[in-house]
């Protein structure tokens, strides 16, 4: 009896993760078995977006501060991964500003991923040390300034990043399964953080800054911790992205990706981990439908296609509708829980 209830308790505790992870697993198995090449790529891309959006959620959801700067951390990690793995022949000539250990060497994918994520974390730490002193709108604005600084530097640092040009020849190892592994990691990291003391303290500061201080909570340190962890997870997303595409350019980590990932989080629900995942799934599905529509649909004799740009307009309109009519997103502020077991336990308690 004891054992059974502890199993249930365990299940209940892990449920918010399982309920997100298992459907993803099923989706990946199905896509792997029956999907076309294009569908596999679409699903992989969505899994990478899950990593980024869940990373965003770790900061935005728990601290309530909207960050517009996190894609910069994805960019920093992605460029690190590029420097460490790409084009051993071209690198010494095209990226002369790199230090020798990057310019002349090529590293294994594992160590590259670790170092790149650590670099994103370090960047988040340094920027967070400064920015987390701010609250509310000032904090949001300064994260946006941080994104612009990242872009201004990387777009003009010609002998290191090749400026606005694309770098090609980056090894592509990210398959469906690697993407799934990344999504698992991100979701588990987010959940562990969320239930930790730090996550709890960050959410208290989010709900009421004044009361949190009166309860001995440091706004600064708790936000900084959230900022660094989320910067690292977003950085992981950047690494996966670059090893999925095989190319990188600085504009791939700028306003469009910022907007797209924020839209995913807003649509799913900024205050819920499940919301982050659901938002990615919903918007990726919509994007896929539009891709097919833009390619054209045969209706008997005529072939209809929607003009380029409708997808983005629809996305923006959807985001506005969600902001207006369902501010907390599709998932609201809740996680998915085990309804039946909870009810059972409540009865037992009575």
């Amino acid at each position: 009896m004891m054992q059974k209830s502890s199993v249930i308790a365990c299940l209940e505790k892990a449920w918010p993760v399982l309920v997100l992870v298992l459907p993803l697993l099923v989706a990946v198995v199905l896509a792997d078995l029956y999907g076309s090449v294009l569908l596999k790529r679409t699903v992989t891309d969505a899994l990478i977006k899950i990593v980024i959006v869940v990373g965003l959620y770790i900061f935005i959801g728990n601290t309530g501060i909207v960050s517009f700067g996190h894609i910069g951390f994805a960019g920093i990690a992605a460029y690190f991964a590029t420097w460490m793995t790409c084009c051993a022949m071209m690198k010494p000539i095209t990226m002369t500003g790199l230090p020798d250990f990057l310019r002349l060497e090529t590293y294994s994918l594992w160590s590259t991923a670790l170092v790149s994520v650590a670099a994103a974390g370090l960047a988040a730490l340094l920027i967070g040390l400064v920015l987390m002193r701010l609250s509310g709108l000032a904090a949001s604005i300064s994260t946006l300034a941080a994104l612009f600084i990242f872009h201004a530097v990387y777009a003009n640092w010609d002998n290191v990043t090749m400026g606005r040009a694309s770098i090609v020849g980056i090894p592509t190892y990210v398959t469906l399964w690697v993407g799934l592994g990344g999504a698992f990691l991100a979701i588990i990291a987010a959940y562990l953080y969320q239930i930790s003391s730090y996550g709890l303290a960050a959410r208290a500061a989010r709900d009421d800054e004044v009361a949190a201080q009166a309860a001995g909570i440091s706004l600064y340190w708790n936000r900084l911790i959230a900022f660094v962890i989320s910067g690292m997870v977003v950085g992981l997303g950047g690494v996966l992205q670059v090893h999925f595409m095989g190319t990188i350019s600085v504009n791939a980590f700028y306003l469009n990706l910022t907007f797209l990932t924020l839209a995913m989080l807003v649509v799913g629900g900024m205050r819920s981990l499940a919301g982050a995942v659901v938002g990615v799934v919903v918007l990726s599905t919509i994007a896929d439908v539009f891709r097919r529509l833009e390619a054209g649909v045969d209706l008997g004799a005529t072939r209809l296609s929607t003009p380029t740009g409708t997808q983005e307009m629809f996305l923006a309109a959807l985001m506005l509708l969600i902001l207006i009519f369902r501010k907390d997103g599709l998932m609201g502020r809740r996680e998915l829980r085990l309804p039946r077991l909870r009810a059972g336990r409540a009865r037992a308690a009575q």
């Binding site: 709890l200 208290a204 709900d207 009421d208 004044v210 949190a212 201080q213 009166a214 001995g216």
Partner: protein
């Protein structure tokens, strides 16, 4: 409840405000206020609206820097410290508006307060449960604070302050908006606090029944100045207090109501 009160000789015996002045621009909110709260007693802080009661609590808790004057916890200087460090030094407060962490459960609200004062997760949870059981809130422990009734919100806001295991708890109008039976329960809780938690209590309250019922001493503020201090009987008999509160035609029964 022994686990909650970390009793010992090192617990500070008094919280003092000495010669506190606070000015907002040209407006003087507090002028030369002296106040001492002793461990083991409930002290009332009363005065008309705008007398500076909440400002004084803000000064004591580090939310407002005094223009002049000192705040001492035993020998330790508190003014100039950040609000959160004052909280960590063992001074808890509740707010006029409950200011709960509204997207979190009742239990989490209390756990956060424990964590904030340096407890481990397990200790914070144990303390939270002791307090929840004591004030009879076990049935709503897992409720999200967003959906609490008004009376419950107020109770949880006090419980959260207690979850910090404070040496001194400053309660800002805990009874406002409560009905008579809720008030009675609250009085019971407050009067038990000093012994149960080995702490001192400063109680701001407009409800004179509550003030007269639970306080050993009462400090009266008016227009930012100390008007009087003494036992409930002394304060009630004080002509200056009666004037400030009730105008010239004051009589005793009105004051009690």
């Amino acid at each position: 409840m022994t686990a909650t009160a970390t009793a010992g000789p090192e617990r500070p015996r008094r919280l003092q405000a000495q010669g506190i002045h606070v000015a907002f621009g040209g407006i003087k909110a507090l002028t030369g206020v002296d106040l001492t709260i002793r461990r083991g007693e409930v002290m009332g802080l009363i005065g008309p609206n705008g007398a500076g009661k909440t400002t004084l609590v803000n000064v004591l808790t580090g939310f407002q820097a005094p223009t002049e004057g000192r705040v001492l916890l035993e020998d330790r200087v508190l003014q100039g410290m950040k609000a959160r460090d004052v909280a960590r030094a063992g001074i808890a407060r509740s707010f006029q508006a409950a200011r709960l962490f509204r997207d979190m459960t009742v239990e989490e609200n209390l756990v956060v307060a424990g964590l904030g004062t340096g407890l481990s997760r397990r200790q914070a949870r144990e303390r939270a449960h002791e307090i929840i059981d004591w004030i009879g809130c076990a049935p709503i422990a897992a409720t999200i604070c967003d959906s609490l009734s008004y009376g419950d919100e107020r109770r949880i806001s006090i419980a959260r302050a207690l979850a910090m295991g404070p040496s001194f708890a400053l309660l800002d109008e805990p009874a406002s908006g409560m009905n008579e039976s809720e008030c009675a329960a609250l009085m019971q809780v407050i009067s038990e606090l000093p012994a149960r938690f080995d702490c001192g209590v400063l109680l701001i309250e407009h409800n004179m029944t509550v003030i007269m019922g639970v306080c050993q001493r009462i400090h009266v503020l008016d227009g930012g100045r100390s008007l009087a201090e003494g036992t409930p009987d002394e304060v009630q008999a004080n002509p200056a207090v009666r004037r400030a509160y009730l105008g010239e035609k004051a009589d005793h029964t009105e004051l009690v109501i």
